[in-house]
Each structure stands twice: as structure tokens, then as C-alpha cells.
């Protein structure tokens, strides 16, 4: 099955818009469960854009990469995070470092800045999907925003995943001919990072009895 470049680029633009909107939502919501599942949805959209590019260009390994991204980041990782969440008593980000209203404002500013900043950058090897690059950069920055403004361990992992989604969007839709071994390596590494984060989250539950990084204030200077 193939699709034309024009269809593909409008599809990718639509996915990119969805990815950005979901990113803003993740940055604003305070429910950890909602964060996890919306991030899963966002990861699936990233995987879907990869599959779209594969269909339009005939690069088969990209479809493999996209399918793996959907399976790993869309299903396995959220299940792992969900299991940590069930073991902990924390359900919401009660006191984020900035309020949801300010988070929303910052996330919107990020989208505008990313769009403006990438206005003049032209990447030759694209399908003409003009929204993918600004969407990738703003998703990446939204991930950073989440990591910087949250206190709960799980929120930080989610922020990291959003950040990685931005990078993956750039990888799949802009420089889509990256060798398969690099893509697989990147995906595999991500999976390991989440597993290690899971290991440490469990240890934190054991040692500190909480999933809040408020306890992590001993190392200074």
C-alpha cells in the first residue's frame, strides 16, 4: 500500500498538530494517570507519522520503527508506569513548581517561539510536511518544561518521554532515512531508560516511602 506525497504531508501535518496539542495538555494536567495515558496517545501519533512516511517513501524499516514505537512507547511503557502508579499513594501533582495556568501560558509561548525559530530552516529531505519541524521542537521544549516544573518522580519520567517524542518526530518525519540500526538502538535505549527509571522509582518508594522528589534535596554544593 502506498500513498502520495501530498496526502502523506497533510496527514503528517495533522498528526504534528495533534502531538503539539497533546503536549500542551500533558504540561497542564495534574493527574498523573492522565499524564501517562495522554503521553501514550502522543507516542502513538509519533509512530503513526513514521508509518505514514514509510508508506509514502517506501522505506520499509521506517514502518518497523514506527510500529515498534507504537508498541513500546504507546503500550509497554505506559503499562510499566501505570503499575508504579498503582503501588504508590500519589495520584496527582499537588504542588507543581508553577501553577497549571502558568504552565499553559509557557507551553503556548513555547509553541509560538518554536514556530518562529524554525521559520527559515529548510531541510531538503522532507515530504514537504511544514509543521513537523516546529512541532518537534515545541514538543521537545514542552518535555523540558514538564521536567523542570514538576516534583513527582513519575511526572519527570513523563516529561522525559514527551521530550523523546519531540526527538522521534524530528527523526521520523525529517531525516527519515537514518540507518535502521541507529533507530533501533535509540528505541532500545529508551526502553532501558524507562526500565531503570522504574527500578529507581521502586527503590525510592522503599527508601523514602514516597514518589516525590521533594525528598531529593540532600546533595548540594
Amino acid at each position: 500500500m502506498t500513498i502520495s506525497a501530498a496526502t502523506a504531508s497533510s496527514l503528517i501535518d495533522a498528526f504534528a498538530a495533534g502531538i503539539v496539542v497533546l503536549g500542551v495538555f500533558i504540561a497542564v494536567t495534574r493527574s498523573l494517570g492522565r499524564m501517562i495515558w495522554v503521553t501514550a496517545l502522543q507516542s502513538m501519533l509519533v509512530g503513526a507519522s513514521a508509518v505514514t512516511v514509510a508508506l509514502a517513501t517506501g522505506i520499509e524499516h521506517l514502518a518497523v520503527g514506527g510500529a515498534l514505537a507504537i508498541a513500546v512507547k504507546g503500550v509497554v511503557v505506559p503499562l510499566v508506569l501505570g503499575s508504579i502508579l498503582r503501588q504508590s499513594s500519589v495520584r496527582t501533582e499537588r504542588r507543581p513548581i508553577v501553577s497549571p495556568r502558568i504552565s499553559f501560558l509557557l507551553a503556548v509561548v513555547i509553541v509560538f517561539v518554536a514556530t518562529e525559530a524554525t521559520h527559515d530552516v529548510h531541510v531538503s529531505a522532507t515530504l514537504g510536511a511544514t509543521r513537523a519541524l516546529p512541532a518537534a521542537i515545541s514538543t521537545l521544549l514542552t518535555g523540558l518544561l514538564i521536567v523542570m516544573t514538576r516534583r513527582k518522580t513519575l511526572s519527570l519520567v513523563v516529561g522525559l518521554l514527551v521530550f523523546e517524542n519531540g526527538i522521534a518526530l524530528a527523526a521520523f518525519s525529517l531525516v527519515y532515512a537514518m540507518p535502521l540500526v541507529v533507530e533501533l538502538g535509540a528505541l532500545f535505549d529508551l526502553l532501558i531508560v524507562v526500565v531503570v527509571a522504574w527500578v529507581y522509582a521502586r527503590r525510592m518508594l522503599d527508601v523514602f516511602g514516597t514518589l516525590s522528589t521533594d525528598e531529593l534535596r540532600n546533595l548540594r554544593g
Partner: protein, 495 residues
């Protein structure tokens, strides 16, 4: 032959790690140690052999160019093999101490050996691969494995340090991936996808790369790998991770891990120099190198924790190495080569000794460790000697290297930066020696029985220091020929 050696370097530690883990599960800690050590030593022997061969007979490549070992790769291979051997040799002593405290079941020892093998194997694989994407995969893999080792003790502070390392390291390394992808995009459609990330191809075809994308790529790589190198302001994880990890792991992180990350950044730098000339990336390296020196200084002077002191000293030294790379020119690059190697060995020895002192006294505080020369003579003497070398006093390779870097900077026209670096180095030397003198002979340490160590343990700490001293006094002709090759590569035709 190159194929075989490369496979041994990449796979022997993995095999050793799996075997060690299985042995640990069966409750046989001694067997775990033996199989892991066998895997690691096989890899280090292969790495040294391959490196020497490549230095003697020119760049070696295998697997259709996917593995390429030039003088720079060979240099890093030798550095990793040397430092990892020290970490390996110091590990039984560390585990013995933990066992004496009664804390660790054999399963944990098996895990320790498995992770150590994976970590050092990963470090040795990075310089082998001629592909910026696979270099990234290797560095990310070592980050994750070493994060597990940092939190190995499961003490609250170690978990905190490992957590910060994992999150900040992953974000940093994410930026490096973006930089790698932008290099790929900069190569455009002219290159086929197999060699568009090969540094040999990119350096040879620098002129055909898209300059705008390449600049952007270097900035992301600088932030990404700079985080792993410990360049300020991306260094905040480093003092935590390097101070909370077990002693041998700190040695490997500081002595080899940082150098491998700098190697990755340097490969980007060489591509950018080939494409755009030295001005752009060199200036950035000088700025961030100098900034790291400046940021590390107050934390060295006002430090109260022995292992954090050594960690900030690593930030200072890697800042200096980055600065040297940015200076360019034959003299500064010779300094770079000598410096990175000597720092790796001296810092490995210092961390092993500091780790022993800290475990014996049960405290990281400099104020509680005074009088180590009489309480624990072998470790105390090694730490003092390592500190004298690290502070840049002669006779040592570090002294010669620092002079070469500073004069090289002046010769290359970076007079102001070299002058500022000289002042910062002098102040850092005073700070480091003040604290280390207190640890050596200070009156305020904990009281305890005199600690005797086996000759083997003393040798593990003293041997690397002997090499560092020798490097400052004498350069055998094969070494100087190897250094010439290395400088020719690092100079990128502009040296």
C-alpha cells in the same frame, strides 16, 4: 584480525556480564568475579592490541568501514583499557569491605560484576565505531548502566544521585541525538544512508555539508555530550553521581567515562572544522571550557566533602581539556593528549584511595578524615600523591600538559583565555592542596585503629601514579610518534 579484535572488545564483556550475573544467581560470588574479570581483561587486551597495531601501521578498519580505528580512537581505547583495569583491580577490595559490613548478598555481587563489565565494555566500544549514530547508542548505553552502578549502595543519597544522573543524562543525551540527526540531514541526499554518519566520510566531504544545519547540529551535540563531559552549566549531575558511586565506579566514571564523552564531542568538532573551518566550533569549546574552569573553582575552594572535591576537580580538568581542543595548534593538542590520559590515571587512583578512606571512616566529610597518613597509610599516601599530581605540580605529565596547553593557547592567539585559565588553575591548585593537606595530616579526623592493606592494594593505587610521573619526565620515541599522529588528526589540517 581487526574484525576478530573488534568483536572481542564489543562482545567479551557482554558474555562475561551474563555469566557473572548467572553465577551471582547461583550464589557463587567468586565465580561471578572470575568470569566478569575474564571477559573484561580479554576486551582490554584486545583493545590495547588493536590500538598499538593501529598506531604502528596506520588506521585499521573492518566490517566495511563500520569499525575504524585511527590514532584518536586508539588513544581513547588505551585510556579506557588502563583506567578500567584500575577499576577492575580495585573492585574486590570494595566488595570485600561491603561484605565485611554484612550488607550484600551474593546476588548483588554478581550484579555488580555484570554491570561493571557492561560499563567498561561499552566505553571501549564507543571509539571503535565509525558512525556518529552508533557512538550515540554506545554512550547512552553506558549512561544507563552506570546509573545503576551509581545507585548501587541503595543509600538514600546514592539513589538521589542516580536519579538525577539518569534524568539529566537522558535529557542531555537526547540533545546529542538531535545533533546527530541534524548532521545526517546536513549530509543531505548526496551521501547514501550507510555512510552519512561515518565520521571518515563526513570529514572527507566536509565541503558538501549544509553549513547552517551543521552549526545547529554542533550546538546540540555540545549541549548533549557536554552534559556527559561535565561542562558547566550542564554539569550539575556530576558531583552527585561521582561522589555517591562506589570508589572503583567513581574512578571509571571520572577517569574514562568523561574522556569518552569528550571523544564523541571531538568527533563532531572535527567534522565541523572540516566543513566550516576552525572558527565556529573552536570558539564554543574555548568558551565552555573556560566557563567550566571558572564554575568549578569556588566549589573546589569551599568544599567539605572529599569525593565531591575530586568530582569538581574532574569538571576543572575536563574543562581544561575542552579548552585545549578549542585552542588547537600543535602545542595545545599535544597538551590535550597528554593531559586527558594522565588525568584519567591520576583521578582513578585518587578515587580508589578516597573511596577506601571514606568507607573506613564512614564519612565523606573532609573534617572527619584528617590524619589519614597515619591512620590508613597506603590510601592516605596515594591520595596525597594523586592530589599533588592533579593540582599540576611537577614532575608529572599533568604539569607538562598544562604548560603545553597554556603556551599553546598563547601561540594560537588565545592570549586572554590562556591567561584566565592560568589564574583559575593556580587558584584551584591552592584549593585542592589545602583540603588534601587537611585530609593527610589534619588533627580533626575520626579515631580508629591503623588500617593495614595488602601490597596488591597499595600497588593498584600507586602504579597509575608512577605512569603519570614518568609521562612528565620521559617520552619514548614510539609514544612521540603516536602523539604526532594524534595531533595531526585533531588538528584537522589546521594544526
Amino acid at each position: 584480525m581487526t574484525e576478530l579484535l573488534a568483536l572481542v572488545i564489543a562482545l567479551a564483556p557482554v558474555v562475561g556480564a551474563v555469566a557473572a550475573w548467572l553465577a551471582g544467581r547461583r550464589g557463587d560470588a567468586r565465580l561471578a568475579m572470575l568470569v566478569a574479570a575474564a571477559g573484561m581483561l580479554a576486551a582490554f587486551a584486545a583493545a590495547s592490541g588493536l590500538a598499538v597495531w593501529a598506531l604502528a601501521s596506520g588506521p585499521e578498519s573492518a566490517f566495511g568501514g563500520l569499525v575504524t580505528v585511527d590514532a584518536f580512537s586508539a588513544y581513547v581505547l588505551l585510556l579506557v583499557a588502563a583506567v578500567a583495569t584500575v577499576a577492575l583491580a580495585a573492585s574486590p577490595g570494595y566488595l570485600g569491605h561491603v561484605r565485611a559490613e554484612g550488607a550484600m548478598p551474593p546476588l548483588e555481587e554478581g550484579t555488580y560484576w555484570a554491570l561493571l563489565a557492561l560499563f567498561s565494555g561499552g566505553l571501549a566500544t564507543v571509539p571503535l565505531v565509525n558512525n556518529l549514530g552508533l557512538i550515540w547508542v554506545g554512550i547512552e548505553a553506558t549512561t544507563v548502566v552506570s546509573a545503576l552502578l551509581v545507585g548501587f549502595t541503595r543509600l538514600p543519597r546514592a539513589i538521589e544521585a542516580a536519579w538525577k544522573y539518569l534524568i539529566l543524562g537522558s535529557i542531555g543525551i537526547g540533545f546529542a541525538l538531535l545533533g546527530t540527526m541534524l548532521v545526517f540531514a546536513a549530509a543531505g541526499t548526496a551521501a547514501d544512508s550507510a555512510n552519512a554518519l561515518a565520521w571518515t566520510y563526513l570529514v572527507a566531504h566536509g565541503r558538501s555539508l549544509d553549513p547552517g544545519l551543521l552549526r545547529l547540529a554542533f550546538v546540540f551535540a555540545l549541549v548533549g555530550y557536554g552534559t556527559k563531559v561535565g561542562l558547566a552549566p550542564f554539569h550539575t549531575w556530576l558531583p552527585d553521581a561521582h561522589s555517591q558511586a562506589p570508589g572503583p565506579i567513581s574512578a571509571l566514571l571520572s577517569g574514562a567515562g568523561l574522556a569518552v564523552a569528550l571523544y564523541a564531542l571531538a568527533r563532531f568538532h572535527l567534522v565541523v572544522v572540516a566543513a566550516l573551518g576552525p572558527a565556529f566550533s573552536s570558539t564554543l569549546l574555548v568558551v565552555f571550557g573556560l566557563f567550566s574552569l571558572a564554575v568549578a573553582l569556588p566549589f573546589i575552594v569551599a568544599q567539605g566533602d572529599l569525593k565531591r572535591l575530586l568530582a569538581y576537580s574532574s569538571i576543572e580538568h575536563l574543562g581544561l581539556a575542552t579548552l585545549a581542543l578549542g585552542f588547537g595548534g600543535r602545542l595545545a593538542l599535544l597538551g590535550f593528549a597528554l593531559h586527558l590520559f594522565c588525568h584519567g590515571l591520576a583521578k582513578a587512583s585518587a578515587f580508589v584511595a578516597a573511596g577506601r578512606l571514606v568507607e573506613e571512616a564512614g564519612s565523606h566529610r573532609i573534617g572527619r578524615l584528617g590524619g589519614s597518613l597515619t591512620r590508613s597509610p597506603a590510601s592516605g599516601r596515594s591520595l596525597l600523591a594523586a592530589s599533588l599530581l592533579l593540582s599540576g605540580l611537577p614532575p608529572s605529565g599533568i604539569f607538562v600538559a598544562e604548560l603545553a596547553i597554556l603556551f599553546g593557547g598563547v601561540a594560537a592567539g588565545w592570549t586572554l583565555a590562556a591567561g584566565a585559565a592560568a589564574v583559575l588553575l593556580a587558584l584551584a591548585m591552592a584549593g585542592l592542596l589545602f583540603h588534601m593537606a587537611r585530609v593527610a595530616v589534619g588533627p580533626d579526623g575520626v579515631r580508629g585503629a591503623r588500617v593495614a592493606v595488602r601490597a596488591r592494594t597499595a600497588l593498584i593505587m600507586a602504579a597509575p601514579l608512577a605512569v603519570v610521573v614518568a609521562a612528565g619526565l620521559w617520552t619514548p620515541s614510539p609514544v612521540s610518534a603516536a602523539l604526532d599522529q594524534l595531533v595531526a588528526i585533531l588538528g584537522g589540517g589546521h594544526g
